[in-house]
Symmetry: D5
Subunit: 146 residues, 10 copies
């Protein structure tokens, strides 16, 4: 634990977030996401027992979103014909808005299989125990300016 | 995640709990415990962002306490002259009682430096973000009978 | 060993089953299957001395089958012209039926060489000493819901 | 699998049995034995799901017992005052008799804590799921002569 | 060393032979074969100081040849125009005949560069000090039945 | 780089600072300190090209000093008879005062060889290029409270 | 630290510079460059807290620039339409001129995505905390003659 | 050091030369050759401080050149238009002649970029400090006959 | 294989013999010697299928015996009361005599348990399949002079 | 190779010299020194084919000798009764004098077995092919000042 840094960020996660650079991507995956097989070329960090929102909130306190692209935050698009509700997206919008001046305008959607493909080239994948549906989220790192 | 197994138990923690045998000891440590240096000869598992009670509760669902000793659960004794309250112990007692027929009678105290010494020979140490005082707890594994 | 978890599931196997996610595949292979060469990119777990049915039964107690596909369980199709009997399939059907509400309807067949190809991309392969013919079986993991 | 070699002997176990030399010791431990902590300096081989007798029988087919000592086979002595029965010992005697001309005369007892101490310096420890009481057994390798 | 197992089979070789499955291939190479470069994706086992026949004979005692193909044993074809004699083949035929009911009918030839290509995908390559010409031999593992 | 975290703290250093617990010690060593040999049991982090003060300042922004001991900050005592000046200590005092309410009262001295001995059991040693004399400094981590 | 060698060159960096040969390339990257993901096949050296100019200056004291190509030094071209100023390039020119007789004539530009592509095949990438814009620089090693 | 073996051959080099087989290639590279990047798939052996001739001479005492090809020794062709002298080639010819009955007839030339390509698939590359121009040399191993 | 070096010396053994220095000791052990457990701190080289004499003979061709001690060659003393014959010692004497001008005068005896103790600090142990009794032999390396 | 750095210093040796600190010791050993066994806790660097003087000379160009002790350079004392000449010491004196203002006054002697003991705790040992007698030399690193 360190002063002023959210305690949910483990030493290893802190290291990974810090060594990522401009345009590197991070996936915060729900509890059923095949994180180990998708992340064969990535760093996989396990955060069993946690939901996505508390992790997202902590990460955005230290991790800048990319301002060079329109949608540095990506959600997995609801599949055609699927009538599922995605209330967790509202939580995400609130958290993003709290941490980025563009608000939820910087959140985009990616079609499901494209989301998987991009996950395979992400820098890191965080495996949570999140149970909400369509809860996977991808963040693209921005530039740290002072 | 698996059916019927608490989701806070990560794949690695499940493996460690399963490979421990009769009389091996496990420490669930609070957020300021020097888990890495105490655990140089142990397996250290990080569970940043979690408190001790939720982990203890999940572990006792699959992990039998030793019935061959009087106190398979050990707390760190309050130091002489210290007037601190330890409300978290009541939570621990409730959790243990729920999972072991002996109830809180199987919980004992260990003097602080003895606790540290025993931690150094534990099989595994779980590093949490628990903030309560005197929250470290040590469990001795019992026999699985059917 | 842990309370309430089948003892045939080794610590390592438990870890692997737990870290698999939705749509990851697992092969339980017979005693002559070339598990090491097929599994160069997979995790290979040896369970010498065991047959497939007892392992299958234990795994399905904790491992949900995929409900998003019709046949989350795959057997290797009997080759054309081969008149061999496959009595072990009846055992498999009984075990699957005991553990999945769809019963044996969720069991499909895969042509032999396709089975090999899919094995090469499985998450894990369990090498048994099963002697029955056409005894290889592949499981696709489903979603854990509570 | 190989011709004429019991199939319960895994590739790794076969390698370990073969590389052991005269006077090296092997422990076949029951399901609650703390194999990993006792075996920190040994090779630990997991055989979850198996009992001790079937393993003992297979091992003695290829592994000679030491003829230079009186008791190359050691059981853990029943503790004073303990009235437990040890029917598994009869199975052990039968298996040993079948494989060594000295019969059960080559089986001795070791006091419990001495047994633990010797386990720590064994060459290898096999972790089984054996549930019988006092089922741990230690074998000392003899000389292969033709 | 183990009872009843040829002593020329090292612990590691025994492990490799045992973990091979149906259709995996093994090359026993002569002393000048580039075993390390051909075997970059294989397991290379050094048996310096030995000839091929004594190794072949020991291996076939425990290793079944594939009965699903006509020629589970392959020799490297004499190159066109090469008038060299290959007396070591007669030794091979005798050894194979002693260990497989099909006799030398199960021995085939592979053109030189095809032999090299197949070596690159073999499961293991044994590097010997054999000096005879055209002495490389490839074995395809069969099924162990009881 | 991360928002709000001093950029001189590398990903690895951040991880190490975060995983340290209450009472673990950290040495920031000058350019001639034998960091690798003193730190055989420690984590050694190289920060070539930097002086000690800028690192100390950055670390104290996130790293709490131990409040359970009088001198969580230790300097290496000037040897008897040595008339050297230690102007860098004034910089250290200013930096510590800026970051800890006890001010420079929490800085103590340790005799030179005792300093070396304690360095050998430190959790981590940072190797700098600091050229000032008597510039080694040791920090003992405190408790993070919120 | 060594006599006559700039102290900002860490032991590991010195080793890397020394083992590079004619035509190998080195990237000194700014603080937001995705050094770890670009450098998956390269050696990544962290120099957090440093700017590029002081590192460039130290490296050129021991590292010859390639004289067989026109532009052994490459900057990342300002993107079309971007009106940013690049004052740090003047510093680079001064440093290069001080160390190479060709002066700033040996500095060329590479289009941004081509720069990224070449970075992926560089021998090493140095990750700095440089904040200036368009500050990435690539060096191609020349021949050491005496 | 060993009796009768040139002392410039290090233990590791001796091992590498010995494990090479018929047709494997070895590059002895000059001091500016990018040995590490060319040799990513090869074994790189550093012999800093040595020139090529003394190494070539020692190697040829134990290493047979391939007699199945015309030019088992390859030099890097002088580039068109380059008027450089290559006096070191005379040394090479003398050394080869001393060790191979074919004399310098077994030395061929390879165009520069082809030389680089072949280096990438060599079994090993020796990095020297040789300063002569066009001093790289490649050897193809032959058959050891007695 | 290399020219002029006995082919029974594997690449790894050659490396080990070469890197040994004055006074380092090597054990050539018989087939029942517990080479792996005795050699926990040594390099263990397996030469299954070989007897000791052919290895001893090959080694002494390149390995000088220590001339600074009386008995650089040590045999394991026959135990008191043991009436066994040791004909293999005559072979050893002949081989040593052939390779060292002192003849068999440089061969001494070491009491059995002292031999074991010295084996534990040997530089390397060679595990053979030698079946003769009292066949273990220890060599102390001498100085290479030219 | 680097500009202005002796080419006999390999990348690895340069790294080791650079990471050594004040009072760390380095042994440059002759060709028969048991460098690997003496250096089990040290870094061993092989420089086969080189004598000690050329290495000593190159090292002292970058490596300061300790000025806090009288004899930062140590030779192995000639044993009592030994009448050997040590002409190589004169070379060492000349080299040291050339590089240190104290001249050969900073060279001391250490009794043979004490030399061995100190070697075991050295930071690094360089294994050369030096053939001169009593040629081992130990250097203690000093402070780099500018």
């Amino acid at each position: 634990m360190l002063k002023g840094i959210p305690q949910i960020l483990s030493p290893e996660l802190l290291k990974v977030l810090c060594e990522m650079g401009h345009s590197d991507r991070l996936v915060i995956a729900d509890g059923n996401f095949p994180a180990e097989s998708m992340g064969k070329d990535a760093i996989v960090i396990r955060m069993d027992g946690h939901g996505v929102p508390e992790i997202l909130d902590a990460i955005l306190k230290v991790f800048p979103l990319d301002t060079y692209v329109d949608h540095p935050v990506s959600l997995m698009e609801v599949m055609k014909g699927d009538t599922v509700e995605t209330p967790i997206w509202d939580e995400y919008k609130e958290i993003v808005t709290k941490n980025d001046s563009r608000g939820d305008a910087c959140i985009g959607n990616i079609e499901r299989f494209k989301f998987y493909d991009e996950s395979k080239t992400a820098y890191a994948i965080i495996a949570t125990s999140e149970k909400a549906l369509y809860a996977n989220i991808m963040l693209q790192k921005g530039v740290v300016v002072e």
